[in-house]
Assembly symmetry: C2
Homo-oligomer: 209 residues x 2
DNA sequence: GTCTATATATGGATAGAC
DNA sequence: GTCTATCCATATATAGAC
């Protein structure tokens, strides 16, 4: 009963491709390498996806969805400070989990248009930023927060998490971590979480409980 | 008297190569494209630099020097708050000026070792971070600053500037700029500068003058 | 669906004339 | 120093057998 589950195989190829694209960039990997790593025949890439370009696009688009699911988690809080902290936690978790994917996204932003995909990516980033911006905006209007540069405050949150997750080796060196691979341990995730809460509390004038 | 100034030509090729590598990544440009853009013969790349790899390394290494020159500017301040702000200004200016180069550096960090260059880059980044870390450290010890997570505070500064300069189009969308190319105008540079000063003042407990 | 074989293009590098 | 011509490796993509 050795049935081949085609959708699983597709997903698996996409997983492998995502990792390799993240590690070496689009031009840095060949479909030969991808097929070898995914243990399939080279011709299968064309068969499943049409071309290397299409495969790449599918890798990006498949994960470029906002997890609206978690928004209910945020909405249940009453104070904007708590909504904000909950949102920050969502971002930390998401960026920690998808850091290899995020490297693809980020690289796509710095590389001169490979395709019209950049617009889709920018639209998605805009949505993510908007989550933070709206909360801060309302908190300020509500006098719960001090007046600040709202957009740059939102950018600060994303920037710190993104920079932290970008390079394990950089984090290791700069932050004097225990070992080269501990940057994404719970311990250091909490350190980052605590830092961001403090930065935001101080900046927005949120009182500690 | 049409004398060809060789060192200038070398520099010119490096300039062109830097721009193209920044725009498309190492594998994303061919030496054919570089030579065409620099109006030289393809064979000249090998002649001047030995190989594409060597050219790339030279592009990186030529700018990977700390500008110690500016440190005297920082040292002349008495208060650590002023030293810190002066340092932030140095970083803003440097990252604004070298943003295409910074994209190369950043990409190099996220890409799995093309060469041993990553170590050199990490060492340089470490030095840059240390500039900030030392000032914050001394300020805290001196009770001029509140106690904070020093390394992550330094990372926050670099992260915000880096993220801002990474994508003109992102900045344009998120920050609602006047036009697509104004992100690096003095006006917005000052907006970023002001934001960072406020973030740091609030976080470190620096009193406004 | 899966594979081999192949068409075709493009890449980096260099030999050798000038 | 500069250029043409060319070698050779590697890339994507696909035709066609199974």
């Amino acid at each position: 009963m050795e049935e081949i589950k085609t959708p699983d195989k597709r997903e698996y190829i996409l997983d492998v491709a995502e990792r390799l694209f993240a590690e070496h960039g689009f031009e840095g990997v060949s479909i030969r390498e991808i097929s070898k790593a995914a243990a399939i025949n080279i011709a299968m890439v064309s068969y499943y996806f049409g071309s290397k370009e299409k495969l790449y696009e599918e890798v990006v688009e498949r994960k470029l969805i906002i997890s609206n699911l978690l928004l209910s988690e945020i909405d249940k809080h009453e104070k904007y400070a708590d909504k904000l902290f909950a949102t920050v936690d969502v971002f930390i978790n998401r960026l920690f989990e998808n850091r290899q994917f995020q490297n693809i996204i980020f690289r796509e932003l710095t590389i001169q248009h490979r395709s019209g995909m950049t617009d889709t990516i920018l639209a998605q980033l805009h949505k993510n930023f908007s989550l933070l911006i709206e909360i801060i905006q309302k908190g300020v209007k509500n006098k719960e927060f001090k007046k600040v540069d709202i957009e740059l405050t939102a950018m600060t949150v994303i920037a710190v998490i993104k920079t932290y997750t970008t390079s394990e080796r950089m984090a290791y060196r700069i932050l004097h971590l225990e070992n080269a691979h501990s940057a994404f341990d719970v311990k250091y995730k909490n350190r980052l979480r605590k830092h961001l809460r403090e930065i935001l509390s101080n900046h927005l004038g949120i009182e500690e409980k």
